[in-house]
Each structure stands twice: as C-alpha cells, then as structure tokens.
Symmetry: C2
Subunit: 303 residues, 2 copies
C-alpha cells in the first residue's frame, strides 16, 4: 500500500571527523522516501528551489517515488550546515537557511488523498495538521518533530501529536516535550495525548519502542565505519513505515511493529556508511534482508 | 563451580535526583559477590576497616560467599562520596578516601588457590596480577578497571589485560585504553593484547559484547524507577560471571556468554531500583528468572 511523506528536501554541508562535504542532497523527506522506496510505493510532498538538481528528482521518480507532490519553487533550496564531533549522536547546527521552505504551504495532489500510510516529517506542526486534514481516512499516521517546534509551537505540536497514531522522537525530544526525564514515564505521558506507540530513536544505541502493552528494544548495528549520521533517523522512519505499508493491509500487531523497527534499523545502518544519500541509493533488497538477519544474529539469545 | 573475586568494599555516600544516603555499604566486590551468589559459590578477597558492620559480613557469609579472604584491618573502611544528575550514566566523584585500601596487599587463602573462575575487580593492576599469580590454572579470568588506572598505570594495566580472557569495561574506559573511538575497532585493539572477549557496559543502553567471531547487543531493562545506579556495573559482572561459573564446567560457547550477559543484566536491573545493596540482598531465583524472561520479551522479533 502507498505511503505519504511530507517533509524537507535540502542541501546539506556537513563536517564529521571522517570528512567534509559541501551542498550535498539531504532533507528528511529525501532520506525517508529513499529508505521507504525499497519496501513500498512512496508519495512525496515537499518543496525545492530551482537550484535543486533535476537528476536527483529523476532518480527519486525512477524508484517508485511519486514526485507529483514535489513543488519546484522560485528561489533557493532549504540549506542546513552542521558538524559532528566524535560523538556522532549529536548534530551541531551552524546555519539554517529556510529559503523556499519559508513559504511552504503544500496542497495535496488529488491522487494522494487516499494514501493509507502517512508520515508527517519534522516541519511546522500547523503544516503537519493541514496536510493530515487533506488525507481521507488514513489508516496509520506517524509524526516526527524537533526541539525547535517543541519550544516555539508547543500548542499546535501537541494538537498534531493528538492526531497521530505513532510518534517517532529522539530521546531529548521526548524528554523535552513531556517534561519527564524517565523515558518510560515520558512515553506514557505522550501516549495520554493520543498516540498508541512511541518510538524512541537513540542513535548508536538503537531504538526503544513503547506501546500500552509492550516494550521493544533494538540495538543499532555496531559499525566499524560511520561517516555521517545525517539522515539516519529519517532513514529509520522510512524503513519502519515502508515495512508497515508493504504488508497486506491488516492492522499491524506487535511483531509487525518489531520487524518494521528492524527494517528501519537495517536501512539506517547503511545510510551512515557514506555521506549524503550515496549508500541509500544503491542498496539491493538482498543487502537489507542480510542486515535484518545480522540484527537477529546480533540480538539472539536462548533461555 | 567456584568464583573468586578481588575488589573493593566500601562505605558510599550518594546523592541522586531521587534521594540521598550517607555511609551505606558499597564497593565493587560487595556488589559483585552478592549478585554472583545467586548463581554460584563465591570466594571474596577484599579488605575493610574495623568500622565495617559485622552483620554485613555475616549476611555475605550466609549467602554462599566465602569470606575467609576478607581482611578486617586496623583503620577505616574505604569511602566513596559522589552524586548523579538526571543522566544516571555518569557518576560524579566528590571524594575518595582509600583508608585501609591504601595498603591492600592480599594473600590468597590456600583454599582459594584452585578457584576456576576469577574476577579481577577494579583495583591497582599490580594487585590484579599478584592475585592472579596466586591462582593455580584458572579456567576463565575476567578483568575490570577504571580511568584512574588507565591514566596512572598504563603499563601494568596492559600487562594484566594480557593475562585476562575477558575484559568488562564501560565505553569511555574502552575508548581511553585503546585510543580508538569506534567501539568495534577499540574492542579489536584490546583483543590483540590477549583477551578473546570484550564486554562493553553502556549503562541505561545495555551491553555490547564482542569476540573474534561474533557480536552481541543487549539492552538494559527500561525501568520506571531508578534510584541509584551505583553498583550496576559490578552487579552485571557478578551475574555474568556467576552464570558462567554455575555451568557444568565445559567451555562456554557464544550462547552461554549471551545468556550470562542476560543474567548479569537482569540482576543489575534490580540493583538500581534501590540505594546501596538493599534490593540485591532480597531477590529470589524466581525474580531473576522472570527478569531474564522479560528481557527475552523485550528483545524478541521474528523475521
């Protein structure tokens, strides 16, 4: 089944202890779409400027990503400049230029309005809600955000969260939004606003997944070469939602969410092996299946 | 089979966001022995002052912990004073008083010299080596250390590590001792000095376990109430080594090390639920088995 994503597309300039790149393709919707496209057809809603490479858009279209919802606006593409120290879990932002993203007010193409699976990427929660109001009877809605919106638009954000089934946050976002340091209590607080599942991204420590009835913890894959963690969280979300959308349409159960988590983790583990979307553009289904299997070998124990 | 531990016994004064205690029983050998005693007979080598409570020593003796190697020396017991912020992974030391620990030069009781399983707790690596030289043909030797010895006795420490089969370090210790930030590379560096396994303690993120042929990642149990992380690492080590010693004497394989990791994690998850050794003194075998089973439920997924 199809999967709708709304989020940013960007040019990133990134420095890590392992190298430096200037003005490479990035953005939450880009990583999400690429990751999800290995598993399900994706419908992309975003905006870029006229400076965005046409061949990248063609590359996305060639991979079961519907780009009719991608607007090319007069002006420059959104830019992010940042760096990482050895602690790759923390991105340090040097500069953000919103550019065409400043006036982003997406209108959902009619063909997208019946999409069953929806991912509201990290954008203004008012846009997240506006997008969602244009979808007819979505089956499953997941939402991401960032500290900026938690601090600057807490009201709209809380309203948007109330409309989501699943939130996908990192640890500091969950703690900040709930005002609760303990992750179990923080997840419970967020679930009291509406969502039934909280997926906590912990960078190199993996993922913790809480719902009313269960907890699931998955490690990240211990890699020898991590070049650039940019996009890991969005790739995770793309693999996670992509797996759920790839199923037969029955309501996912706990084990489906768990396997979705492992697909997300597997794809994210490839993303960080190179700068930008390089590695993510060149995976095979076999690569992903092998990594999921490697996760099983990594975590298995018998009582 | 029996398990020998050499390490500190102490009075701790601890402040955490959840309370404060003064001069409670602590120390690496105390936590280790208590944790291991649920699984195997323990032989304890340590030193306390005349101020150490006799009833605590009786409590240890009553739990299959042989205290003939525990010396009561003239003077005061080792003391540690520290605190934790909300990030319970980091202990901040306010004060350390070595007291009777300053002249600790243990002589192994003759009855201990054939102990097959040996844990060299975090003490001067010269004492670790001296202890080890007094054991006849140990079957399995594990070693812990801390940043102080890495910085002040790198030579003797490296020599001691060379004589161990397993090292049990936290992330920062492993990084500092190897000079390598990436944990996979760091573990490989340490294994090139002799040990065949590196167990990395990651606090609330669990444990990563590397050997030449395999990697194993286990989460910590997501708890709603963590009062005091002091002793969690030593309790983990105690449960880990205790499980290995509890087996039939055949060489442990990968799955045995994994289950040992889960027993260690289970027992450590109880330790942090109360200050000092309180919770650790009052577990039942059923409590531990249930927690190991809860870990299985926490991590299980099916491809």
């Amino acid at each position: 089944m199809s999967l709708l994503v709304v989020g940013s597309m960007a040019f990133d300039s990134i420095r890590s202890p392992f190298g430096e790149v200037e003005k490479v393709v990035g953005g939450s919707a880009t990583y999400f779409s690429l990751a999800a496209s290995y598993l399900a057809p994706v419908r992309l809603v975003s905006v870029v400027g006229t400076d965005f490479p046409a061949h990248t858009i063609r590359m996305l279209s060639a991979r079961s990503i519907d780009t009719r919802g991608l607007k090319v606006a007069d002006g420059e593409t959104f830019r992010w400049k940042g760096y990482y120290e050895y602690d790759l879990n923390t991105a340090h932002t040097v500069e953000t230029e919103l550019n065409v993203f400043r006036d982003f007010a997406p209108v959902l193409p009619e063909e997208y309005r019946d999409t069953p699976y929806v991912f509201l990427g990290n954008i203004d929660p008012r846009i997240q809600m506006d997008m969602l109001s244009q979808v007819r009877n979505p089956k499953l809605v997941a939402l991401d955000t960032m500290n900026y919106w938690i601090e600057n638009s807490p009201g709209p954000l809380r309203e948007a969260i109330g409309k989501a089934d699943i939130v996908i946050f990192n640890e500091s976002e969950l703690r900040e939004i709930s005002g609760e340091y303990n992750l179990v209590k923080a997840a419970r607080a967020v679930m009291s606003w509406g969502p039934t599942r909280v997926v906590i991204k912990r960078g190199e420590y993996g993922v913790l997944h809480l719902s009313d009835g269960a907890m699931f913890a998955a490690p990240a894959y211990p890699l020898e070469t991590i070049f650039d963690p940019t996009g890991a969280g969005d790739s995770f979300a793309g693999g996670f939602m992509g797996y759920l959308a790839s199923r037969n349409g029955s309501d996912p159960g706990e084990m489906d969410y768990r396997l979705a988590t492992m697909f997300g983790s597997a794809i994210a583990s490839f993303t960080v092996e190179a700068f930008s979307t390089e590695r993510l553009e060149n995976l095979s289904p076999g690569d992903i299946a092998s990594r999921v299997d490697a996760f099983r070998a990594l975590t298995e124990f018998r009582v």
